[in-house]
Amino acid sequence: MFHDKAGYFFELFIGGLTKGSIYALIALGYTMVYGIIELINFAHGEIYMIGAFTALITAAALTAFGVTHPLVLVSVSGITAVVYASAYGYTLEKVAYKPLRNAPRLSPLISAIGMSIFLQNFVLLAQTSNYIPFPNLIPPLPFLEPVSHIMGTVDFIILCTTAVIMILLTFLIRKTRIGTAMRATAQDKTMARLLGIDVDRIISFTFITGSALAAVGGVMVGSKMGQINFYIGFIAGIKAFTAAVLGGIGSIPGAVLGGLILGWTESFGTGYLTSDYEDVFAFSLLVLILIFKPSGLLGRNTTPKV
């Protein structure tokens, strides 16, 4: 009996871990963009959706041309998705956010919402409103076979990708030249500009990186869900945003921590209480944590200056 209970707990734990790492993966891009220009980029979820669609289309085109080698398929469609998502991210920033850099804080938020509606409907009209099956791009790893009922290959790869990306991003921001420039830009744009940092370029770079991460997330989640449609970005976007805030917006490890906590809350909430209120648990936890730590778990506590 005890063993049974422990097993149930463990499987819920693993389930929460994979779910959480999906949230974390998308939240990483969110938090990066937020960290630099303090904009809730509602269109981030749409970039993720476009990444998934591009990968799907590329894979289908390759298959139609007779390319079936799994490694070629996954790498080519993955890279195309990343390239396209980055291009979208770059253009998005140029079109909808850059002209608003000196506008009141809420204006870019609204153009982000507009962009989100626009991109959703663009994909809806150009492709289809139906769910499309997403090909299983990631070949199963043989060594996971014995535990495949607890953690599938895709889950495992998502987990690893999230961890690797978190480490790489932290390194990028802490140790490299461009990372230093990014931090400077985040702190004070005018000062950064005075010090010879090309602020526009840094912001573009951030959007490109963030969008590339979104595409990686899109391909991974697409493979896991086995189907995509034009609306997946919106739902994922809200959860990722929640995860980013929970961990402290702008903090890379915070986004991952936030994602994991969110995943676990939902998993255990469903497992031990009821899935009816899954999201209620998630949001209540968020409210509770923010009441006690008003700038998120790992966010910097800014004291108001006089």
Binding site: G15, K19, N130, P133, Q227, G271, S275
Partner: protein, 407 residues
């Protein structure tokens, strides 16, 4: 702030007074031809209070048919196929010279499946003087719109709103549908599960939506009434979530032999996938929201063995084959959800208009109930509540990547 004190206040009072005056005028004007809301007889032609909406359609050389439903947003995939269906039927009739010497015209309006937008859609269609409406798609939107059509004496045939209350409450004499209501389907599912599959323990899951939760609740009720099976779990999952492992784990823990799913196919395909990868043999049964080729495509091998209830197999029906082939050649794709239901609704409606030789409410309503017509769904007519007769439900099972009817 001299400005406000100077004119806003008097203006404000003036406006209220004028408004009240106008309203009371309206009131006295209206009282004479007033009729109690319950009487449904004689509404057609005798109705004559000055409102432009209630006026009978003016004689003109076109008959307008409204198509309302979600044509954008999250649920667009359920609404757009019905527009195609109605367009196809109408084009075919027009190419043969129209109905009663008049051309048909389709007026498609989006309601995003939201009740508040649906009232706009409905008033818009009423203003456009449509003769009848094919729609709406979602039960919620239908409920908020149907009263407006009722008042304007407009027939409304929904291809997909399955909520039992719409017909069984008897409050909407103008409502018809070409889909069986939730109650009939749930009963069939429960009977099959109890008497053919002999399950003793079921888990009922739904997507928290109008349709999903509605059918799940009915299934739960029938299981409880039978007393033959225990309900191990009755829970809603979040539609569109990235992962369902926790709820699948819970089903596993509960030891249920069968999962009854109330909702659409995207979530179901992921739940069944996750059940199979967790090496569970629990059966899955769903309603017509699952009976969609996309389900088999997205769930792939995992869809095998899933039970689905749906309209009786009409795939051998010549009209059905023709409708689907026409759609393929015209749009280059497979028709989507509720296409056949909308196609049949359009056929039944146009047939009734032709037989009744008018678009008058009472005549249409009687004809719809009286006349049977061959449609892709089979030979159908409507009962006194407006529910479809002649298109029964059967249980299907997915075998070798196709839905096979179980006789």
């Amino acid at each position: 702030m001299k400005f406000h004190s100077r004119f806003i206040t008097p203006l404000f009072v003036l406006m209220i007074l004028t408004a009240l005056m106008l309203i009371s005028c309206e009131k006295s004007k209206e009282e004479t031809p007033e009729k109690p809301a319950e009487t449904t007889e004689n509404q057609g032609s005798s109705d004559s209070h000055g409102a432009p909406t209630a006026a009978p359609p003016e004689p003109s050389d076109t008959i307008k048919i409204g198509v309302a439903g979600a044509h954008s947003g999250e649920l667009a995939s359920y609404g757009l196929p019905t527009v195609n269906a109605v367009n196809m039927v109408v084009d075919e009739i027009n190419s043969k010279g129209g109905l009663n010497g008049k051309k048909l015209q389709v007026v498609a309006e989006d309601d995003v499946c939201k009740p508040e937008v649906a009232t706009n859609t409905a008033t818009k269609l009423v203003t456009e003087k449509v003769a009848a409406v094919i729609g709406h798609i979602c039960s919620g939107a239908t409920k908020s719109a149907i009263g407006i059509y009722k008042d304007a004496n407009i027939i409304c045939i929904s291809p997909s709103a399955t909520n039992a209350e719409l017909t069984l409450s008897g409050q909407y004499p103008n409502f018809f549908r070409t889909i069986a209501n939730d109650a009939a389907q749930a009963k069939l599912q429960v009977d099959y599960a109890l008497h053919k599959l002999h399950v003793k323990k079921v888990a009922i899951l739904h997507d928290k939506g109008d349709y999903g939760k509605g059918s799940a609740t009915l299934a739960k009720q029938y299981f409880e009434e039978s007393g033959l099976a225990a309900i191990a779990l009755f829970e809603g999952v979040t539609a569109g979530a990235v992962d369902y492992s926790a709820i699948v784990q819970k089903v596993k823990q509960s030891g249920a032999e069968l999962v009854v799913w109330g909702g659409y196919h995207p979530e179901a395909s992921r739940i069944v996938k996750q059940m199979r990868t967790k090496k569970m043999s629990t059966l899955l049964m769903g309603s017509d929201g699952l009976k969609d080729e996309t389900f088999i495509k997205t769930a792939g091998e995992f869809a095998e063995g899933v039970y689905v209830s749906g309209p009786q197999d009409a795939s051998k029906n010549i009209l059905n084959i023709k409708a689907i082939n026409d759609h393929k050649s015209r749009f280059g794709t497979e028709p989507g959800a509720f296409f056949i239901n909308a196609y049949s609704a359009a056929m039944a409606l146009t047939n009734a208009i032709a037989k009744a030789e008018s678009t008058d409410f009472q005549a249409l309503s009687t004809t719809l109930k009286k006349e049977s017509i061959d449609t892709p769904l089979g030979r159908i007519s409507f009962d006194e509540h407006g529910d479809v007769v002649g298109s029964g439900f059967s249980i299907y099972q997915v075998k070798n990547g196709a839905f096979k009817e179980i006789k």
